[in-house]
């Protein structure tokens, strides 16, 4: 995993070698500083906290390492959040208050923990997720999904958290509604990445290689599918030559015209979506990266004008 801290311009990386490095730019060379995570399995994901004074690492050791810099020893140290995580932590996202951390795991659960570190910050004020936030406190745990939680995301305000899991569902917990969970069983292949683009709209993508819009209707507490965002232009249907027909019959036992290659921009699963501009409340641009090695930047206004049925709330 890798994450960039835009204010302090530092990078943090974590790997299957069970280590993490914080990279600082000295001149035009990036210098790494080792951070001992005290884990005995691969690190999977890493995220800087909003104030960039901490970062969290999810790993196969079934715990989350919360790392912060100890001035006296000039060294990064870490504390562990273990209970009640029962499997690999696949995804992390911080609440804007710099204390709460959402974690998605292979034990099918989305959880929100307190990652309050008294050495680096003031006691946090109450949030809709709770008021008492000692380190490691479990503020919320989901129960609905039956699949590995691939990606998790707080809304810009922090009062909602959404996650996608391997059973092809998208779920959202709303702290403003006593943590009620809305879930949507999608018709798609499992989604691997999700992000808020407004407080009510989400973009998610995954094994269908296509970003899709989902909308949260607060009044009814429901999630709905808002449409695919990658609508390929109508390519001219050229006829098949007799030779191609015979080849199809030979290879696939059908002389079907159906295209074997994907019509979408990405030719393989999309594994990550990042907000580029506008933040999670008024996103104007987001970026998708996939297993085809491709990176695409999507402009929200252009999508809205190109796809007439698209309604971003």
């Amino acid at each position: 995993g890798i994450d960039w801290a835009p204010e302090s311009n530092r990078l943090v990386t974590c790997g299957t070698d069970r280590n993490a490095y914080v990279w600082t730019l000295k001149g035009n060379v990036w210098k790494p500083t080792l951070v001992i995570l005290r884990i005995n399995r691969a690190a999977r994901c890493v995220k800087w906290s909003p104030k960039e004074n901490k970062f969290a690492v999810g790993s196969g050791s079934r715990l989350i390492s919360i790392c912060y810099f100890e001035q006296e020893n000039d060294w990064w140290v870490c504390k562990h959040i273990k209970k009640p995580i029962r499997s690999t932590v696949l995804s992390l996202d911080w609440h804007p208050n710099n204390v709460l951390l959402a974690a998605g795991s292979c034990d099918f659960k989305c959880r929100i923990f307190s990652a309050y570190i008294k050495e680096v910050e003031e006691r946090p004020s109450p949030t809709p997720w709770g008021s008492k936030m000692p380190f490691g406190e479990l503020m919320f745990e989901s129960s609905s999904s039956c699949g590995w939680v691939h990606s998790i995301c707080f809304s810009a305000s922090g009062s909602r958290v959404a996650w996608v899991s391997h059973d092809s569902t998208l779920c959202l917990a709303d702290a403003g509604k006593k943590m009620a969970v809305a879930s949507l069983c999608t018709e798609t292949l499992p989604l691997l990445a999700v992000t808020f683009i407004t407080e009510n709209s989400l973009v998610a993508a995954g094994h269908d290689c296509c970003p899709m819009l989902f909308t949260y209707e607060e009044s009814q507490g429901t999630l709905s599918f808002g449409g695919k965002l990658d609508v390929p232009k109508q390519s001219s249907q050229r006829g098949l030559t007799a030779r191609e027909r015979f080849q199809n019959l030979d290879k696939k036992a059908s002389s079907d015209m159906a295209n074997a290659s994907l019509d979408t921009l990405h030719k393989n699963s999309i594994s990550q979506i990042s907000v580029l501009a506008g933040g999670k409340d008024k996103c104007s641009q987001f970026c998708t990266t996939g297993m085809d090695g491709g990176m695409s930047i999507w402009d929200v206004k252009s999508l809205e004008s190109a796809l007439k049925d698209l309604k971003i709330k």
């Binding site: 039956c146 391997h166 059973d167 092809s168 569902t169 069983c185 018709e187 798609t188 499992p190």
Partner: protein, 108 residues
């Protein structure tokens, strides 16, 4: 006849509604599977689409689970009609409904 279609549809909805859900009794589950298979095979091909369209999202997911359960234990001619059910259920539930058959912890 319309009367027979109505009965088949009613039997179908009853079978869907009374699915054991989180019951752990293997006997109950097998009974439900048997009932569901009987109902599904009693449908005429032309009636299947209407039946599938009358279900909500959870109903379609449940139907898909029973279809695959039916595939697991094939009887004389059951697979043919089940494949037709599968085609119609897939059109409504999408690949996601099949994914949920594979990932479900509570089987039918």
């Amino acid at each position: 006849t319309r009367r027979r279609t109505g009965e088949a549809l009613r039997a179908f909805h009853t079978a869907i509604r009374s699915s054991p859900g989180s019951s752990r009794s293997q006997a109950m589950k097998e009974q439900a599977q048997g009932t569901m298979l009987k109902v599904l095979t009693s449908f005429k091909s032309s009636e299947i689409e209407q039946a599938v369209n009358s279900l909500d999202r959870n109903g379609v997911d449940l139907l898909m689970k029973y279809i695959y359960k039916g595939f697991e234990k094939p009887t004389e001619n059951s697979s043919a009609i089940l494949l037709q059910w599968h085609e119609k259920a897939l059109a409504v539930g999408g690949l996601g409904s099949i994914i949920r058959v594979l990932t479900a912890r509570k089987t039918v």
